[in-house]
Amino acid sequence: MDTVALLLTLRLALVTTAILLVLAVPLAYWLAFTRSRWKTLIQAVCSLPIVLPPTVLGFYLLVGLGPSTAFGRAITHVLGHPLAFSFAGLVVGSVLYSLPFAVQPLTSGFAAVDRSLLDAATTLGSGRWDRMARVVLPLSRGSLLTAGVLSFAHTVGEFGVVLMIGGNLPGATRTLSIALYDQVQDFQYAQANRTALFLLAICLLALMFLYSRGQRRDSRSSDLA
């Protein structure tokens, strides 16, 4: 097992998921409740990143963040190094690529929250953001779980974007998915099988833990489906 790659992968997936949730929750909240004319456009734009093949998205990121654009030069100047081929670059790519998997379930989850509960919260003096934190989010637990799980798992398995803007540098941008790809490409099947099984096993455990904690306790249950 490539422990360095595993730790890097877990770090990338955790950081990406955390950033995604922080970005996606307010965005989805806005999308779920706005009456703006821009709503459908923005909602559609948020789903676009997955329409492009990951390597192609990675290519555009590589060019956009690289020395050939003013933006890329500015970032390079500020950071002292280009964003590509660094952990931060991977995070940017993964966040962009997994954005739809966070925004989309959250938006539909938020929109499904019973409005009369929001009305009640409001008359109790709860403002817009307080309602989000104390009513909408807890009631959208299922969608939060969905958003988190899809973002996390997708980042773990992510490969094209990471390969393209990461550059497969051991310790910095060589994630387990790339290591696994390399092993398969290199006909090291026994090792690849071990890596894949190990990856699947830890993800299975993590997911089972999440799912078992995500059960709802809050609806009057008849024994029906």
Binding site: D114, S116, L117, D119, A120, A121, T122, T123, L124, G125, S126, G127, D130, R134, V135, P138, L139, R141, R217, D218, S219, R220, S221
Partner: protein, 267 residues
């Protein structure tokens, strides 16, 4: 506000409302058109189903933004949106300090009864929170239910939690939309008395929507009757509800006296 009929009485009106609203959905539609003031400590709104009672309460609380409106609470404008006037104002509902117990109790399903009540106490000190929650649950006879989840409560129990929750926010005005509809006569009487005592202590005026005559007589100093989005009459219960009372009395007298009580199949 020279165009609002403010009565210059001993007790100044706590509510002065001019509301016009048209629900667009139907070709027929429904138009709310109200203009009144309320100054009694206890006011009761009476009216047939669909006459606009809940909509009136929602407009006062700020959950409904009327097409045309001028609403003052305790002399403060909370909504000003009159035809032909440039200046508009709409105070966000969460800032109005209006306590509204909705027809549908809307108890938060993700919080226990006690935590529902404590919802509005967020940010205050823990032990004070706890103590206040218990006191309010006692007031609605629901202190034994503190740790229950909403799905484990009966209809009337939910309604009582909703009442306690609203009082916890220390509103300066209390609007109750058929708050005791799911309660038996006895609880209704006790809890209604408790709530009104709570309000009187704090000088919080109470506006109650009810279909219950007894409640109207017990709770109302002033009664407002509505029909089809308009106010029909405003006055004391005796004035406004005279006819209804006579009907009820007649009906109760018409039923025969009970036979021997041995007939009862007790369990």
């Amino acid at each position: 506000m020279p165009d609002l009929p403010i009565s210059i009485a001993a007790n100044a009106p706590w509510l002065s409302a001019h509301i016009e609203h048209h629900f667009q959905r139907d070709r027929a539609g429904f138009t709310l058109h109200l203009d009144f003031t309320a100054s009694a400590q206890r006011t009761v709104v009476f009216g047939p189903s669909g006459s606009g009672k809940s909509s009136l309460l929602r407009a006062i609380a700020g959950l409904l933004q009327p097409d045309v409106a001028s609403i003052q609470l305790h002399g403060t404008v909370v909504c000003q949106n009159m035809r032909g006037r440039q200046q508009r104002f709409f105070l966000a509902p969460e800032k109005r300090r209006v306590g509204l117990v909705m027809q549908n109790p809307a108890v938060f399903p993700h919080l226990t009864a006690a935590r529902n009540v404590a919802f509005a106490l967020h940010g205050t000190e823990k032990s004070a929170q706890k103590e206040k929650t218990i006191r309010l649950l006692q007031l609605v006879e629901a202190d034994t239910l503190a740790d229950r989840w909403p799905r484990e409560l009966s209809g009337g129990q939910l309604q009582r939690v909703a009442i306690a929750r609203t009082l916890a926010a220390e509103p300066s005005v209390l609007l109750l939309d058929e708050p005791f509809a799911a309660l038996d006569a006895q609880s209704r009487q006790t809890i209604s008395q408790n709530v009104h005592a709570w309000a009187r202590e704090r000088q919080v005026p109470v506006l109650t929507v009810t279909h219950n005559l007894e409640e109207a007589f017990a709770a109302g100093e002033e009664v407002l009757t509505m029909e089809e989005g308009r106010i029909l009459a405003q006055g004391t219960p005796e004035q406004v509800l005279f006819e209804q009372r006579e009907q009820l009395l007649q009906m109760l007298h018409a039923t025969p006296s009970p036979g021997s009580v041995d007939n009862l199949r007790g369990k």
